[in-house]
Amino acid sequence: MDKKLITEDGRRLDGRRFDELRPIKFQIGVLKNADGSAYVEWGRTKILVGVFGPRESHPKHLAMPDRCLIRARYHMAPFSVEERKSPAPSRREIELSKVIREALEPAIFVELFPRTTIDIFAEVLQADGSTRCAAISTAALALADAGIPMRDLVSSVAVAKVDGSLVLDVMDAEDKLGDSDMPLAMMPSKNLVTLIQMDGLLTHEEFVKSVELAKKGCMEVYAKQKEALDSHFRIASKEEV
């Protein structure tokens, strides 16, 4: 491969250092019809998440007697990538929906709402790498906005290996041309990992380093999430009854 992803002075294509996140801006409560919602601009990645429920399960046979059902839908808008993406759910989107659901599920007190359903819809408006990580982090905020009891927020970030070095918060070019990609999601104040995936190859040593780097990145995302919740609900917190 003759394309260079890292410049001589140790910067990445967009000028970031190895351990630097892209600018992240979360917004809460952007959809009126949803019970909870959030929007993120994560570099050039833009995702809108709406949460509904807990509500009656439909179809009814899906309801579970001891806990609530969680459904997640990850979907990329036809205009989210350079070439038109067919709006029908692809193999990849079905996988990501499952992964997002399983990354968020451990944080939610599902046993408090038996026989009900929580629906999470993540719509990718513009994709530039790390969409699953951005979707998970944003969905956690939308769930919190819906007032659904959770053990902790969930923060997520990906680490990649490009040109032999480990870099935090993978963008599209690094994902496509790099050697490996490892998304990680965690409950930051509990230090519990809820999702870890890996594409490509890493040595044992690199893997350990990647996890460390991703955890550090998650803490930074967590700080941004708390900041977003804080500024959205601050007016309300001034005084009560």
Binding site: G53, A144, M150, R151, P188, S237
Partner: protein, 231 residues
């Protein structure tokens, strides 16, 4: 006994997973503990009262509780019962025997003759334990089908503010507008006045309370609002 001080100021804004306290405390609503560590489960305002750590939620749906009076909307009619949307995760069930004075004769009459889809009902919750849908009754003074007036919706977490300390806000609203106002615990409010204008005035005032729920001197400002907007 060694106690680690609590980790928050009074009525501090906390997020899910926020470590509230460590030590010999008790977990109140919206708080969970792992051993001696107490965490918040929702976005809300943290409080410590008599050694119990609680969080007052800022967002959330209505969770039924036995004895609550709620305003429900009929969404389904089955042979001898009505299913009511009470804005909770579960639909409320109003059995015919909890609404009618005599048993419903299913051979001769239809449950729809009494209550039909879309109608609003003031009802009381008589049983609920999360394994079964909440059961309702209308067989008490002041309960039953809503025949006139306006029903508006507010966030269920704002209901205590609309009622006010010892009902101060609601009695002021009633006195200033001359309307009958009934606040359901699930955030639906029934307003019945002499005319539509009075009802719209109260609805506007309630929306103002909801938006400014957490500010001081609200009762006085709402009083001024009602006087100013009433010609």
């Amino acid at each position: 006994m060694f106690k680690i001080p609590i980790n928050f100021g009074t009525r501090q804004l906390v997020v899910p997973g926020f470590l509230l306290a460590e030590g010999k405390y008790e977990a109140g609503p919206n708080v969970y503990n792992e051993g001696d560590k107490f965490y918040s489960t929702v976005i809300g305002l943290a409080e410590l009262r008599n050694n119990v750590v609680t969080v007052i939620p800022l967002r959330g749906c209505y969770i039924p509780s036995v004895g609550d009076v709620v305003i429900g909307k009929v969404v389904d009619v089955i042979t001898t019962a009505w299913m009511l949307d009470i804005r909770s995760p579960w639909l409320g069930v109003l059995f015919a025997k909890e609404h009618l004075s005599k048993p419903l004769n299913v051979m001769k009459e239809d449950a729809r003759d009494y209550l039909d889809i879309g109608e609003m009902i003031i009802a009381k919750i008589i049983s609920f334990d999360r394994t079964k849908n909440p059961a309702l009754t209308t067989k008490e003074q002041g309960l039953g089908k809503i025949q006139r007036g306006t029903v508006i919706e507010v966030d269920p977490t704002r209901v205590p503010r609309i009622i006010g300390k010892k009902g101060s806000m609601i009695s002021m609203l009633k006195k200033d507008s001359g309307c009958q106002i009934y606040v359901g615990q699930n955030g639906r409010i029934w307003i019945s006045g002499k005319n539509r204008e009075d009802e719209a005035l109260v609805a506007g005032a309630i929306k103002k309370i909801e938006a400014e729920a957490h500010t001081t001197g609200l009762t006085d400002r709402i009083h001024e609002y009602l006087i100013k907007n009433r010609m």
